[in-house]
Amino acid sequence: MSAATGSARPTVWRAMAGNPLRFLFSAWPWRALVYVVTGPVVGTVWLLTAILLVIVGTLLIPVGIGIALLLCVPLSAIAFAAVERRRLGLMDRRPAPSPHLGVDRADRADRPGLRSWLRLRLRETATWRELGYALLAALLSVVDLVVPFTFFVGAFVQVSAPALVGNGDQIMYGPGVTVDTPGEAWPVAVAGALMAVVAFYAVTALAGARAALARALLVRPVAEELGERLVEVRASRARLADAFEIERRRIERDLHDGAQQRLTGLIMTLGLARLDGSAGELVERAQDEARAALAELRDLVRGIHPSVLTDRGLHAAVESLAERSPVRVEVDARLPARPPEGVESAAYFVIAEALANVAKHSGASAARVTARTDGRTLVLEIRDDGSGGARVSAGSGLQGLADRVAVYDGTVRLSSPPGGPTILRVEIPCES
């Protein structure tokens, strides 16, 4: 179909506003006709079903099953709406996703049985909107039938006026207005042809309006869809960060099990060699080298992922940082429960970077690190009594950590007026 090519999809409205010849010979009038005419068919089937359900349901209320049948009325509207969304494809190639929850999600599998499905559906506004649409569509079925019928039958009769008149018939437009001579019949036929053209426009316009109504009431709004996609992107970002976290731990473990053990083994062996007394100064130097290498490796491994964080959590790990800091650091990071691994790790590295900055740039003599949970948010605060004026500049370590925190939807705020104090406040939501 030519109308659907090109990057900007031409809508039915644009087609109607364009070249009339091109419009009349395109598929649009026929699609519109099919759309308008099938509407009452579907609508009637639904209406009869719904009426039947209401009558039988009401009669059977004393038996109990009646309630269940009445509940099937909104459910039947869901089915009706699903058919309507399929039909929408005739008029509109844009996707028409269902507005219901949990219809196209990956969590289909863990959705429990029929009862909770029912509860969910009956609570959704989408269901009731669909029921409203179904009733409205049933009413509009009359228009759907009358408009094409009037226009096309009228046009057909008028176009065939010369033939009818030739057969001796006459067309009555009302009392006293009759067409019964060929002289009168030909202009009527021309008017009939024009009417057919108008009929195509009218039916297409009706179809366009009905499709817009259906889209407005039955299709998940685009904005909502976008919002959901954003959540999805964010979730996958956090998954990626967690994957990196796992990778860091793997590297840390590989180093621990591999290089560190081997160097330790080497140091032991050299120690044994020195016991014999036969080993010279060279062995002693080799052992010193191995020891230095191991110490460097230990620092490297701690930078990748500190074991104390894995083993004992944030407080002990930050205490360990404080012990290494040249600035005196008070730590109060006891949390009632351990945050999710990725969050805990992000928190630790933010504090590590902040303390490194305090030591390097602030000129502070003391710093204080606090961590607490405020509801479901982990709140960190690193405060120093230095000279202030700190900034989160692009490419700085702090910027990188702000990015890392942002992955978990957290925020980093820095207050550092000239003269100090500098306060870094980090908040990370802890959804587990």
């Binding site: 473990r253 621990h256 099990d257 560190q260 053990q261 081997r262 160097l263 330790t264 083994g265 140091i267 032991m268 062996t269 050299l270 120690g271 044994l272 020195r274 016991l275 052992q287 191995a290 020891r291 191991l294 230990r298 491994v301 701690r302 074991s307 104390v308 894995t310 083993d311 004992r312 002990a316 205490e319 360990s320 404080a322 012990e323 290494r324 040249p326 600035v327 005196r328 008070e330 003599s365 003391a366």
Partner: protein, 216 residues
């Protein structure tokens, strides 16, 4: 002495075994995880346990937890904990369980004679804390802290005390007389407002606690 070793690396397990054998200690069992350690201790009733911190199945601090559990069940069982990294909080946990504990970086084993000495001290009920732990505690800068009032020599003495050395050992390490060490120790205890005690373990505990919690 009869020793049980818990260490998941074959290389280090055998290295330790060799070193202990050199000093006529008998390795009655060498296991590779925490449950194995508990079973071996129950079976062999060793004079001392040497254990790694990080072991299967979780590769976290299973060894340390096992050590603390063993101490809780048998407070007199000497345990020397070896680790690839040392943390003050681990040392404090071990110290809380009483005397006859040690906590050392693994590569200290390379100083074979010193390592075996530390092992024997722990077996005899002494306390051994890795110099790295002590160094970091002392390096924490404090103003208005009683530690700031210590002389350089007193700081050397308190570091060795925190590692679990006896007065005699401190005297040998600093090449001074034991009488001089006793004088420094007395001065340190006065300055830090600590009780003098004859019990070596309590002395380590007091000093480490003081270093950790001194007002900052």
């Amino acid at each position: 002495m009869r020793v049980v070793i818990a260490e998941d690396s074959v290389l280090l397990r055998e290295g330790l075994g060799q070193i202990l054998a050199r000093f006529d200690h008998e390795v009655v069992a060498a296991v590779e995880d925490a449950p194995g350690l508990a079973a071996a201790v129950a079976e062999h009733r060793p004079d001392i346990v040497v254990t790694d911190v990080r072991m299967p199945p979780g590769f976290r601090d299973e060894g340390l937890r096992a050590a603390l559990a063993l101490r809780a069940a048998r407070p007199e069982l000497p345990i020397l904990v070896l680790s690839q990294y040392v943390e003050q909080s681990y040392a404090s946990d071990l110290l809380q369980t009483g005397g006859g504990v040690g906590y050392l970086l693994k590569d200290r084993v390379g100083e074979v004679a010193e390592f075996v000495d530390a092992l024997e001290r722990v077996a005899a009920g002494g306390t051994v804390i890795d110099p790295e732990v002590v160094r970091r505690l002392l390096a924490r800068r404090r103003e208005d802290s009683p530690l700031e009032r210590l002389t350089a020599r007193e700081r050397e003495v308190i570091a060795l005390m925190a590692e679990g050395r006896s007065n005699g050992a401190i005297a040998r390490a600093l090449v001074v007389s034991e009488a001089a060490v006793i004088k420094h120790v007395g001065s340190i205890f006065t300055k830090l407002d600590l009780y003098q005690t004859a019990d070596d373990h309590r002395r380590v505990l007091a000093v480490i606690t003081q270093l950790r919690d001194a007002p900052r």
